[in-house]
Structures are given as structure tokens and as C-alpha cells.
């Protein structure tokens, strides 16, 4: 106990006044992420940190990591925690590094189009800042109003605009990292990861979910603000039509800036909440940007394609509304008290099968699910199904978590894979990569972080609060048992009435 207090004093001295806290409230606030976890999860994981630290400068981060080493405390870096796999939540207590406090936009090299930011900068703020200077950032997560730059790139970063501009790793030019040893490195040279030089490390750290080090500065490629920016929306009778249209888009001679889809359930959820929403079997949003002459031709080209695929173009007003709503898909969580998202990458051609089987799973598990997502390249759909849940009913909430695992199983069966491992899905790595490669990844983690200090027990392994490792078989057994348990429960119900009725949910 005394030792712990001395450690806390050391941490407190390393940062500016007011940036260290061990108050129960602060620790509670940072003990979960987007996924609403019932309290009972605390039996398996020590999700409550012992201290919350909000650094401002990279040197402070390095000092905190060095102190953590000397006191043998785990360190968990955290951005906005807008993901749901526990990657930004402690599993063994220790120090929580709230990187959202490092939120400075350091500067823009106008001639080269490179912006340097701290990791806690929020995407939407960055875009607005750039807009005022004639630039824009064309790739960002759908959670841009809240998600941080550091958080998104640590999760691999596919999202809005990836179809044309690639993922985060395609646009990150350099990272400054504090290694678990407390030393600092730059991953690239000349701010250029397009032409990586000797032993380029940038993409090793992108997508590492904060398990190899703490990102403290990021250089991003940004682009001149386009002359024209036009969202369009097409409505389809059902999801089969939607996915057939996506296949055609992926094979088209031209490339829109962004291609997203939303199923009809989402709009039913909105209506159930009392909001105005369109009647549709599913929509496809196509967004175009660039010189006006090019955008006009692209719209003409895709309009003909979408019409041929059975789509009906909705008004510009609806298209603008859908574009503005792109970051607020979880509004419908008001129907429950929370929502949990799964995320998987699926071959475009198989998306239709994955949706059908997911809906069958939804029926069996008696849940309320909506499916949405976007194309991230010509071969791949990012699927983001989410389900409504109520963590106040903890057995139901815990058993519902198995939906994500079951959905990822369906994706794997059709050649897809999950996005994100974090804490809860760490064992999915066995479905993603071969044994030898997993061994190498574990060795890389051990090489960089021999004590497993930074976000240890995640990403390449699943570790509980007492250092107990859970292998893939036990994980699979546990999740199957939870899915079985969920099926025994009555159908999930909304907390609010559903005008006009909806077969997916009932008023309780």
C-alpha cells in the first residue's frame, strides 16, 4: 500500500499539476470504452486503473513509462475509447495514459501537405482546422467527431474515404513513439512512408493497438480542399440489391471517394425512436470529390450504374442528410441503453452471404441488429453490424457479447476476418493468421516489450487480471456457451414503442 502511494507520487511529479488523478470517479470513467460492459466483467479483468495521467508532451510520456518500469506498473494508452474491444481499457489496472490530453495541432507544411499533430487531436477538429487553411483530411473514422488521430491509427484505420485515399497507414508519414523502455524513436525518415527507407517501422506501429509503444506525434499527408464535394444516396428494395450494386461499383472503371451502405433496420430503429426516416430496404451512399468537371462525369457514370442495378436516387436533401449523419449511426442506441459494434472485413462478393447468415444468427439469438458498412478497396467490404443492448441486465448483456464472436465466425467462413483484436477479441488472431506468423508477432511484442508493460495481455494474447492466459479453445467454448445462454432468453425488446411495429423488436 505504501509502495503504491510512493509510486503515485512519482507519477504525479512527472506531469504538470492537475494532470495526475487517482480519484475513484476519474478511474471509473476510464474503466470502459464504447462497449457497455456490465460490472461483472470486473471479475475477469481489472479494468479500473490505479491512476489516470493526462500528459501534454512526449517527454512526459517517456518519463511516465520509465517510472512505470521502475514500479512494475502496467500502462494502458487511451484515445477517445470509441472502439469496443477493450484495447483502451486496462486489464490489469496500473496507469491509464489518457492521450486525449495531447491534443495540439502542431503545424501544417502548406507546400508539402503534411500536418503534424499530437495523438489526442480529434479528427473532426483537425479537418475543420485544415479547411480554414485550404486543405482537408479525406480519410477518417466514422466516429470522427469524437475519435482521436492516435486512437484510429492504432486500430489500423479504415473508414470514410479509404476507398479512394487508402487507410491510415497509407497516409501516415512518420510516427514518434515512446517505446516500452521509455526511449523515443521516429519510425520513418523524410516524412515519407510512401517510399519507406531502410527497415521502415511505421506500419508495424499502425494497427498495433498501442501494444508496442505509445504514439506521441503523428505526421499525416493531407490534401488540397476539393473544388466540388457531392454526396448522393440510392435506395434499393432489399439488401441483396444493395450488395449486387456494391459488387458492380467495385468493378467499375471509376472510383467514388466513398461508398457506404446502411440496411433498412437502421431506419426502422430511427422510426421507433420517433424520428423521421426513409422507408427503404437498404441504401447506398456514393460520395464524390475533386475538380467539378471530374465530379460531374463521375456522378453521371455511377447514376447510370446504380439505376441499372435497381437503385432509385433520393433527393439531394436526403443525400446531404445521410452524409451529415455518417458519424451518428449509434443514435439508435437510445432504443436500448447501449450498442455494441462488431467489425469485419469481407470479400465484396461474399458480403451478401455474410449478411444473410448474420440475419439468421440475429433471429436465433433474438436480438435487434442493424448492418452497415463501406467499401475500403475494390475487393473488401468493412461490415459494421451493431446490436442494441442493456448492460443493466448483466446476464443478457454478457451473453449478447457472443454475437460479435459468432458474427466474426460467419465472416471467417466466407473468407473474411475481424478488424481489431484489443482485449476481448485477441484470440481471433488465431482465425486471422497462421501459427508461425502469430509466433513471430508474439516475439516482436516480447522483443519490444519484454515485460508486457504497454497494453500487455492484448492483441496477440488474451490475459485476465491475475495474468491468467485464455487460449483460443477456452475462449471459443466460453463464447459458444454465452451464445447458447442468450438463445434461452426471450427476444430483446426496445425500451420505447415501435410505431407501426417491427418484427425485429417489441415494446416491453
Amino acid at each position: 500500500m505504501i509502495e503504491s502511494e510512493i509510486a503515485k507520487r512519482s507519477f504525479s511529479a512527472a506531469v504538470r499539476p492537475g494532470r495526475f488523478s487517482d480519484s475513484p470517479l476519474e478511474r471509473l470513467v476510464t474503466s470502459h470504452d464504447l462497449a457497455p460492459m456490465p460490472k461483472v466483467a470486473g471479475l475477469a479483468f481489472k479494468m479500473m486503473p490505479d491512476a489516470v495521467i493526462r500528459p501534454k508532451e512526449p517527454e512526459e510520456v517517456a518519463e511516465i513509462v520509465r517510472i512505470a518500469n521502475s514500479w512494475d506498473w502496467p500502462v494502458t494508452p487511451r484515445g477517445a475509447a470509441s472502439w469496443g474491444f477493450g484495447g483502451a481499457v486496462p486489464n490489469k489496472g496500473g496507469v491509464l495514459l489518457d492521450m486525449a490530453s495531447m491534443d495540439r495541432i502542431i503545424g501544417l507544411d502548406v507546400e508539402r501537405g503534411i500536418v503534424r499533430v499530437q495523438p489526442g487531436v480529434v479528427w473532426l477538429r483537425l479537418d475543420e482546422w485544415l479547411n480554414r487553411r485550404g486543405y482537408f483530411v479525406p480519410y477518417y473514422p466514422s466516429s470522427a467527431p469524437g475519435a482521436t488521430v492516435g486512437g484510429w491509427i492504432s486500430t489500423g484505420g479504415v473508414g470514410v474515404g479509404s476507398y479512394r485515399y487508402g487507410a491510415a497507414r497509407d497516409n501516415v508519414r512518420n510516427l514518434q513513439i515512446v517505446l516500452p523502455s521509455g526511449q523515443m524513436i521516429n519510425t520513418a525518415h523524410l516524412l515519407d512512408s510512401r517510399h519507406p527507407s531502410q527497415f521502415d517501422l511505421t506500419s508495424l506501429f499502425i494497427g498495433a493497438e498501442g501494444s508496442l509503444g505509445v504514439v506521441t506525434t503523428i505526421d499525416l499527408q493531407v490534401y488540397p480542399k476539393p473544388e466540388a464535394f457531392v454526396p448522393t444516396t440510392y435506395s434499393f428494395p432489399d439488401m441483396d440489391h444493395v450488395f449486387n450494386a456494391l459488387v458492380q461499383i467495385s468493378q467499375a472503371k471509376l472510383k467514388p471517394y466513398h461508398v457506404a451502405f446502411v440496411d433498412g433496420n437502421y431506419f426502422r430503429f430511427l422510426r421507433a425512436m420517433g424520428r423521421e426516416a426513409i422507408e427503404t430496404g437498404g441504401i447506398v451512399n456514393l460520395v464524390f470529390e475533386g475538380p467539378k468537371a471530374k465530379v460531374d462525369e463521375e456522378i453521371r457514370y455511377f447514376d447510370a450504374l446504380m439505376t441499372a442495378m435497381g437503385g432509385a436516387r433520393l433527393s439531394d436533401e436526403i443525400a446531404q442528410h445521410e452524409w451529415k449523419e455518417r458519424s451518428y449511426e449509434l443514435r439508435s442506441k437510445k432504443l436500448g441503453t447501449g450498442a455494441v459494434i462488431g467489425e469485419a472485413l469481407v470479400p465484396v462478393e461474399k458480403a451478401i452471404l455474410v449478411t444473410r447468415e448474420t440475419m439468421e444468427l440475429v433471429r436465433k439469438m433474438k436480438m435487434n441488429v442493424s448492418v452497415m458498412g463501406y467499401l475500403i478497396d475494390r475487393s473488401t467490404v468493412a461490415f459494421l453490424p451493431f446490436y442494441l443492448t442493456d448492460e443493466r441486465r448483466w446476464i443478457k448483456a454478457i451473453s449478447s457479447l457472443s454475437f460479435v464472436k459468432k458474427f466474426l465466425d460467419i465472416s471467417s467462413k466466407h473468407g473474411g476476418r475481424g478488424v481489431g483484436l484489443g482485449l476481448f477479441m485477441a484470440n481471433n488472431i488465431y482465425k486471422m493468421r497462421d501459427r508461425n506468423t502469430i509466433e513471430l508477432l508474439k516475439k516482436i511484442k516480447e522483443t519490444i516489450d519484454p515485460e508486457g508493460r504497454i497494453n500487455g495481455g492484448k492483441t496477440t494474447m488474451l490475459q485476465l487480471r491475475f495474468g491468467i492466459r485464455v487460449g483460443p479453445r477456452l475462449f471459443r467454448f466460453g463464447m459458444n456457451a454465452l451464445a447458447f445462454l442468450k438463445r434461452l432468453y426471450p427476444r430483446d425488446r426496445y425500451d420505447r414503442p415501435v410505431p407501426g411495429g417491427f418484427p425485429g423488436g417489441e415494446h416491453e
Partner: protein, 355 residues
């Protein structure tokens, strides 16, 4: 480092090329040439998004070894053009990414680290490269400029215009130097632009690019719908020697070119240049020296480039010049990774000097 005996692996026989249009993926062996992949993709109505450096028809093994001689021609960089490499390392086989997906959020991505490791982290035996449907129109235009500065300014403006295209520049005399070893003295540079898409968009892009070239006094030299002609490495004159491959700050490119030319001319040698993949941030400079290799010029140019903090690619002789451009923690980290996949340090160990 010197070794008593060594085994050289000739990967040129591993030259299979398989294009799967349905998966929009090509699987190629390390001995396959760029031109072989282009042809195989074309037969299925597909194209790829990489360009060989200086239009030289390298193999994919070359791509992984010593330097990235194939370059991205699209916004998304290396990740958009190479998904996965299957590797045999002395201690374990492994894969750097995924064949069918970009490597996002599924464990650490090793692709870039491997591709820049001089094959010290294993021997590649298969590359997975995305392909896409051929556009309706592919055309090329060449503009002539009196100075490199003007060509670069026009290239940057074209890059920023929002019409995606491939942009590269070369000295007027580079072609003749590569083929015959002779050049005519000229300060001029050509800017080579590739357009693609549907006809209406290509027409619009050409009009915009013509205007941008005119602003810098550029003249249209040639327009063609023929694909870029590739240079067979074996046909390059023995009197033309590629000094190296240098990612340079684009805005400083003209001064770097001048300095390299001056250093060569002091000893009576001429240099011609190829600039690949022009963008506002970094472009790739390939100087080609007239005459046989000359270590004293190479060292002098190398020292200058190191002073400019320009990374030296693909030339082991310069490793000692890298100096403090590599920090100690970074070097330690890389050495430890190497020791995991090759604990006895048997694979390309002499290249470890690079780190």
C-alpha cells in the same frame, strides 16, 4: 562483413505469375518480371497500380531486395499495391500481411518492414498484388521544360489539381544514355504524365494539365495511347550506371540535382536523372552516371546526400555513411527482430551493416 563461404540463391526461376480477376489479385514469384505481370493482367482486362522505377523491367525479387524499384502510382502508396509477402526465414516461415485484405487491425503488419529489410528477414517466395479493371482510356503526354525547377513546379500543380495521374520527369538525354551510354548536353527535362479513366474525364484532365504546363513554359512534345515502353535491364549500356535510388524532398530536388551534377563534372563525368512519382512532399531521384562505376564520385555524392539527410537506398557501400541518421534504440530494436527470425545470422548477414 566477410564470410568464408556462402550460398547464393538465384530466385529468377521462381517466375510464376497468376492473375485471379475474380479476387482482383495477382500472385507472383520473386523471379517474375514486371512486364510479365502487366501482360498477364491485360489478358484478363486488369491493370496494376505499380510502376517500375525509371521504366526498367525489374523482377519482384528486385523490389524486395536492396531497394524498392517498383513504385506506387496511386495515392494509397505501398499498402494499396502490395498486400502480402510469403517469406521463408531461417527460423520460421511467415506472412507479412494478408492476401485478400489490407492489413488493418489484425496483428502487426510486417509488409513494409520486410520490403525495406534488404532480404535480411527472409526470402520471399510469393507476393500478393491487387489488380483492378482496365480503364476505358489510358494515354500518355510528354511536356518539355527548359529547367527541372519548372518541370517540378508544373508536376506539383498537376498533382494538386485533383486529377489522379502518374507523374515523372527525366533529363532530356537519359534515354540515349541508357541505350548507348552517350548524351547530348542539355539542361532540359521532360515531364511524363499518364492519364486514365473514361474519355470525358481524361479530356478534362488533359486540358487542365496543358494549362498548368503552359504556365511554366512547358511545351507538349508527344501524346500517345501506347503503354510506356520498358527498358530491359540487360539492354542498359555498360556506360550508364545507376548510382542509387533516393527519396528526396521534392522542393529541394533541383538543388540536389545541381549539386550532384557539379560533383560529377568536377571529375569530368556527366549525370542524367530520372525523377519518379512526383508529389509535393517527396519524389524519387535516380541519378545515372555516364561511364563505368566510380567509387570516389559515389562516396562524394553519398556524403553530400547524407548531409542533406537523404536516405541512401540500395548501395551497401554507403552504409557506413548513415551515421546518426539511425538512432540507437531503433537499431537495437531492428537487430532483435532480425535475431528472432534468423538466430544464426545466416541470411544476408553482410547487409546488417545497413542497420
Amino acid at each position: 562483413m566477410s564470410v568464408e563461404s556462402a550460398l547464393q540463391l538465384d530466385l529468377s526461376g521462381m517466375n510464376s505469375v497468376f492473375v485471379d480477376a475474380a479476387r482482383r489479385l495477382a500472385i507472383v514469384g520473386p523471379g517474375a518480371r514486371y512486364s510479365a505481370l502487366i501482360s498477364a493482367a491485360q489478358t484478363q482486362g486488369m491493370v496494376i497500380d505499380i510502376e517500375p522505377l525509371a521504366c526498367i523491367d525489374f523482377t519482384f525479387g528486385d523490389w524486395a531486395h536492396e531497394s524498392l524499384r517498383l513504385l506506387s502510382s496511386i495515392n494509397s502508396g505501398l499498402d494499396g499495391v502490395l498486400r502480402n509477402v510469403k517469406v521463408i526465414a531461417p527460423d520460421m516461415p511467415y506472412q507479412t500481411g494478408y492476401d485478400d485484405f489490407p492489413a488493418n487491425g489484425g496483428g502487426y503488419d510486417l509488409t513494409k518492414m520486410f520490403m525495406t529489410s534488404f532480404l535480411t528477414l527472409g526470402v520471399p517466395y510469393e507476393f500478393a498484388i491487387p489488380v483492378r479493371p482496365s480503364p476505358d482510356v489510358m494515354s500518355r503526354k510528354t511536356y518539355s521544360f527548359s529547367k527541372l525547377e519548372k518541370a517540378i513546379r508544373a508536376g506539383i500543380a498537376m498533382h494538386k489539381s485533383g486529377f489522379a495521374s502518374v507523374l515523372r520527369a527525366r533529363s532530356d538525354g537519359l534515354g540515349s544514355m541508357l541505350s548507348s551510354g552517350d548524351i547530348e548536353k542539355s539542361d532540359g527535362f521532360e515531364l511524363l504524365v499518364r492519364f486514365e479513366g473514361i474519355p470525358a474525364i481524361v479530356d478534362a484532365a488533359e486540358k487542365v494539365f496543358d494549362e498548368l504546363a503552359k504556365k511554366e513554359d512547358g511545351k507538349e512534345l508527344e501524346k500517345s495511347s501506347e503503354p510506356q515502353r520498358l527498358v530491359d535491364p540487360s539492354s542498359i549500356s555498360p556506360n550508364a550506371w545507376l548510382i542509387g535510388v533516393f527519396p528526396c524532398d521534392t522542393l529541394s530536388l533541383a538543388s540536389v540535382v545541381k549539386e550532384i551534377s557539379d560533383k560529377a563534372s568536377k571529375v569530368g563525368r556527366a549525370v542524367q536523372f530520372h525523377v519518379s512519382d512526383i508529389d509535393p512532399n517527396v519524389s524519387i531521384l535516380v541519378p545515372v552516371l555516364q561511364g563505368p562505376p566510380a567509387p570516389e564520385i559515389v562516396r562524394s555524392i553519398g556524403s553530400y546526400l547524407v548531409d542533406q539527410r537523404i536516405t541512401l537506398w540500395g548501395n551497401v557501400a554507403w552504409n557506413s555513411l548513415l551515421g546518426d541518421s539511425r538512432s540507437r534504440p531503433r537499431l537495437e530494436l531492428l537487430r532483435r527482430v532480425k535475431s528472432h527470425v534468423d538466430s544464426r545470422m545466416i541470411l544476408n548477414a553482410h547487409m546488417m551493416g545497413a542497420i
